[in-house]
Subunit: 341 residues, 2 copies
């Protein structure tokens, strides 16, 4: 952490996301103004300065670091991060490595951010691949689901590393001393589920974590387990499905009660947490890339200024809570006990 | 179909489900009274007669077929159907085979029903394993998702057979002439997803079906594709998650607005389709076991009388729509065109 000011320093990828640089710069400026962190904007200097001037943001509010290149959504991550060393993603990640910042937030290509983080920061021993995990918020305040899409095809032992990361998450972010861990399955009894779950079950049982067995789809929001592990395919499908429910309910009700559709819309926007039905809308720290040796946060490509603002705040909290150190210690302990390969 | 009366004859497993035989008998009697089908109750005659008398249902309302044995939830299906040939499940399925009924409805062990149907009715050529598929109803009136839990580990070509069955479903149940088919994935672009999806993609593309590519979790309820195929693991998780959302929203809102929680509860029960957030609550024919050579419907273990009533009606509609014949013709056509292995 910055020794001079005591404040956490967060680099932000000005070029990443569907609404970059406009919304990113706006969100970064809001966070800088709120004084939550020292904000460092990373991107093409000419474009970033133009945007700052357009928005009337004083240049001295944030530090700028030039990155001449941009990695586009859809570029093969491994190739892109090798060929575009001057991209905002690679430059931003390297700022952590060099100690110039404490965290990096990007709404750019998730694959490229994960690859750059794994390559330039390295993995924490015991974590094989970067993992995206987070809370579902709203109806389920104290749960974390891992993985949410970074690893679509998983090996059984990877689910154990997700469980470890999730446990650290629930402890550091939610303050739960001994979080319960469940594996997402198609039935509550041991032996139910697909091959992955059946093979991961005994590993989780012997992990030393607070494993309570299988949980089902209808258990996700009930808090039956604080940490729910699954492969990134099902995690991603469930998360996106969850995010869509509020809007679908609104559309359905407005169609059913056309005479009061204004009221229905109002109720949904003000009373029911439609907008909150997204982990990105929350500032609790979801979207952190777990397993890499540094605090990196990945935001939705479609995120707006408020999400970037939240993201910077979430990154600050993650640095303060020392999530990376906690994960290292937890994994080292499990390895020492012979419970993790 | 019964030649004498012209009415569809539906056998009902009186012993299957958490609330058997009480709720099953009640639902069967309601369907029989409504005259929707000729209902045949299958189960332990002494218990069924006792229940009918308790409920004041005249014995002549339905035909009874004795089945001395019961397969319990959790028994290994393959073993159970071999050892318990006098069970209500085996006897009920065999009634279709012998031509005594046109369809069978059971809320008993899904695995045992599927195994008995595959064994005693046989599979339709081109369908490798029985498949459970159905609509999500409510917010998404014209979609069908397959598989919902019968096949948790799938091969790519199985997703094609799900797509064929789903296409027949959407045509016969929803009346959609040329249903669109999507494969559930983690991104919209070709090449996104896990190994299963990537391998199934070209097969679906060449299947001759109306394949539109990948759909994501947030597309499920929008009707972007009429037929959504996925392995039974993710299908089952998403379905159960969907079914739980309404109750979670209610709990959340009642906690947030304790002073008006009575109103909140009333609104959810009367205005928002919480109870309908379950394919089992609908009579559209969901829960049909596809791929076996006969009309078999599987109901939730926790189903009540109204669900059994719906199930009987759905089975009747499936017989009338000749879903089995349609599926046979569709598969034969695809095979003839060399599009299905």
């Amino acid at each position: 952490m910055s020794q001079s000011s005591g404040r956490v320093r967060v680099a932000v990828d000005a070029m990443g996301g569907d609404f970059a640089p406009g919304e990113i710069v706006k969100g970064a400026a809001a966070a800088a103004r709120a004084g939550e962190a020292e904000v460092v904007l990373v991107g093409r200097e000419d474009l970033v300065i133009e945007e700052l001037q357009k928005q009337g943001v004083p240049l001295e509010l944030m530090r700028l670091v030039n990155a001449a290149d941009v990695i586009r959504e859809g570029e093969p991550p491994a190739v892109a991060i090798r060929q575009k060393r001057q991209s905002s993603i690679v430059v931003g990640v390297k700022l952590i490595k060099s100690g110039e910042v404490d965290a990096f937030v990007s709404a750019g290509s998730s694959g490229a951010v994960a690859a750059a983080a794994a390559t330039y920061l390295g993995m924490i021993p015991g974590m094989e691949r970067p993992t995206i995990g987070g809370g579902f918020s709203s109806f389920a305040p104290n749960i974390v689901v891992m993985d949410l899409g970074a690893n679509v095809d998983c090996k059984p032992h990877q689910l154990v590393s997700f469980a470890v990361a999730g446990t650290v998450y629930a402890r550091t972010v939610y303050g739960i001393e001994n979080p319960t861990v469940g594996v997402l399955s198609t039935g509550s009894e041991e032996g139910k589920g697909n091959d992955l779950v059946k093979e991961a079950f005994p590993l989780l049982k012997n992990s030393g974590l607070n494993f309570i067995g299988n949980v089902e789809g209808n258990d996700i929001l009930t808090g039956k387990a604080n940490v729910i592990v699954c492969d990134g395919f099902v995690g991603n499908v469930v998360l996106k499905f969850y995010e869509s429910i509020g809007d679908r309910a609104k559309v359905w009700l407005m169609g059913k009660y056309p005479r009061v559709k204004g009221l229905v819309g109002y109720m949904f926007d003000r009373v029911l947490p439609i907008k909150k039905l997204s982990y990105e809308g929350e500032e609790e720290g979801s979207g952190i890339l777990w397993g890499v040796d540094g605090v990196v946060r990945i935001a939705h490509g479609a995120c707006k200024a408020e999400h970037i603002h939240h993201g910077i705040n979430a990154a600050r909290k993650a640095v303060k809570a020392d999530i990376v150190g906690s994960l290292k210690r937890e994994i080292a302990l499990l390895k020492q006990q012979g419970k993790l390969q």
